[in-house]
Symmetry: C2
Subunit: 326 residues, 2 copies
């Protein structure tokens, strides 16, 4: 069977039109964000919305929970949707909810979303104190049940400690190297070396604030960066995690950034003059554009097998290793 | 493989000691009650307690979700624990929670527990108005996802309407015939004929308030009643659902009966002078006593194949038919 095409992070304003685009683009699996700041009970409502989509569009999408579901998607011409949290809010202060969420299909969880959480420190805090007491316990529990630790929005020390404390490889599902574009959300060479050295995965983001040149970033620059990352960390540890936020209203970027944790406004990676979602680069607007990235990677000199891995094969292998009980 | 031994209703104060008794008694599967009056969020805490037991006692018990898990239990010398609700409280007023609960492993749900619910009328209400608008919608949804409708604590009309509206066989997991012992919780001949005529199952209860003679009921009387039921309804529609409430403090019988729906006391099947759990009949105290019932059924003149079915084979077949998507 062909190597699958996997996008390991999207938070679009999902709709049948987007599911059709996934099919048009030949996307076999997508990891979607289920929650940012939701309590457990609120998060369940988001799951219900997905259940309804699965019921109404079984010809386009289905719920994915195992690596085998990626192959099933390929065989049946559909897209497997995998669930993740960008923040541990849904587990509240209860470690028992880790397994409950895994039973509900959650396969990735970020330990923080920009801010300090009960588990670790986010990348926007002034001081990073690393994994908390509960953070260490939850990492152990996530390792046990097969929920992948995602440190995309975490601080440097917390990320290094998560890599170290976890007995299984972890992920940074959507970020780019800091050496390519300086941003609080992009990751240092030290973090990426530790991540890949421990068998972990980095998913490259095309969210403009993570790109050198922002919305004007060229495909050549993006793919040259990936080729350099392959040389530094090994192509087998690399994948795609576009962070596609297609069709979202600006109210959603505000929910992502401030939830209910402040009465003020925090612009996150934006600014008062650029508060909403920035325009996407010309070469990636939706799920039909992965062919551009593939072509760009081949033009950047990567071998076909490396490109196949980056476009989905590596995430597929990682799913096989990561989603079952320890 | 031997026909499995299945008890299709227990709400004991579960503990490792009781799990050991399940093994000593050769019980292959037990349907346990997860909730009475709990909200969805409270019910999740009860699931967490079971997850902890499964983690701590994998040599004795595991979570069952399919009929195949009964065979797995037999092969591995453990007891498969199946989940159910005795009341629809955990789905609150949200039909989407039916599928969420199914995903969490819930395989049976009573539409009512003695009182009027959002779905139907309980057996203690003065007037039974049958399935509500939401009740009909939820029965359809339960049919779709594979959650069995249980009418053990429902009124006559509601039960007949559930049998009629459901496109799949339903269950009365724990009750006895009204013609053997007059009690609000025991079922009329008309209900039992409709139930079995539609492929449904009746589980016989040994809860003393459901027994002719109460705690003094003899094994002979109990088994003669089952033989008569086999003649009337067909042995293949009969099983066991003991309603074992072993080791429960009286505070639990109060929770079962009044939850938070009244500030007063309701004695349910008991009375002010007999408020707590009644003593069990001498021939059934715990999971080690199923052999007595088996012997009693053989002595009552039932054939071995019929007895095998009643002791678990029929529930196993029903699980195969009932737990998957429509």
């Amino acid at each position: 069977m062909k190597t699958p095409l996997i996008d390991n992070l999207q938070y679009a304003n999902f709709s049948p039109a987007i599911f059709e685009q996934m099919r048009a683009g030949g996307v076999d699996a997508v990891h979607v964000t289920i929650a940012y700041h939701e309590t457990f009970r609120e998060m369940v409502l988001n799951l219900e919305r997905w259940n309804r989509w699965f019921e109404d569009h079984p010809d386009l999408i289905f719920k994915g929970t195992t690596a085998a579901d990626v192959s099933l998607a390929q065989k049946t011409g559909r897209t497997a949707i995998f669930f993740g949290f960008q923040n541990p809010s849904p587990i509240e202060d209860d470690i028992g909810l880790v397994e409950i969420c895994h039973q509900l299909g959650i396969r990735f969880m970020q330990l923080t979303y920009n801010n300090q959480s009960l588990l670790a420190t986010g990348c926007y805090e002034d001081d990073d104190t690393g994994l908390t007491r509960m953070g260490r316990a939850v990492v152990t529990e996530m390792n046990r049940v097969g929920m992948v630790i995602d440190m995309s929005h975490s601080g440097e020390r917390s990320t290094l400690e998560a890599i170290d404390h976890s007995t299984r490889p972890i992920a940074i599902t959507h970020a780019n190297p800091h050496w390519w574009h300086v941003a609080l959300r992009n990751k240092s060479d030290a973090v990426l070396k530790a991540l890949s050295g421990a068998g972990g995965m980095l998913g490259f983001s095309v969210y403009p604030h993570h790109l050198a040149g922002g919305s004007d970033c060229t495909l050549d620059s993006f793919c040259a960066m990936i080729a350099e990352a392959a040389a530094r960390y090994g192509a087998e540890h690399l994948g795609i995690g576009t962070d596609l936020c297609q069709d979202q209203p600006d109210s959603i970027v505000e929910w992502m950034r401030v939830g209910r944790w402040t009465k003020g406004i925090d612009y996150g990676e934006g600014s008062a003059s650029n508060a909403g979602f920035p325009p996407m680069p010309s070469w990636f607007n939706d799920n039909r554009d992965f062919g551009n990235i593939r072509t760009g990677l081949l033009n950047a000199g990567l071998e076909i097998a490396q490109v196949d891995g980056i476009m989905g094969g590596n995430w597929h292998r990682f799913y096989q290793q990561g989603f079952g009980p320890a």
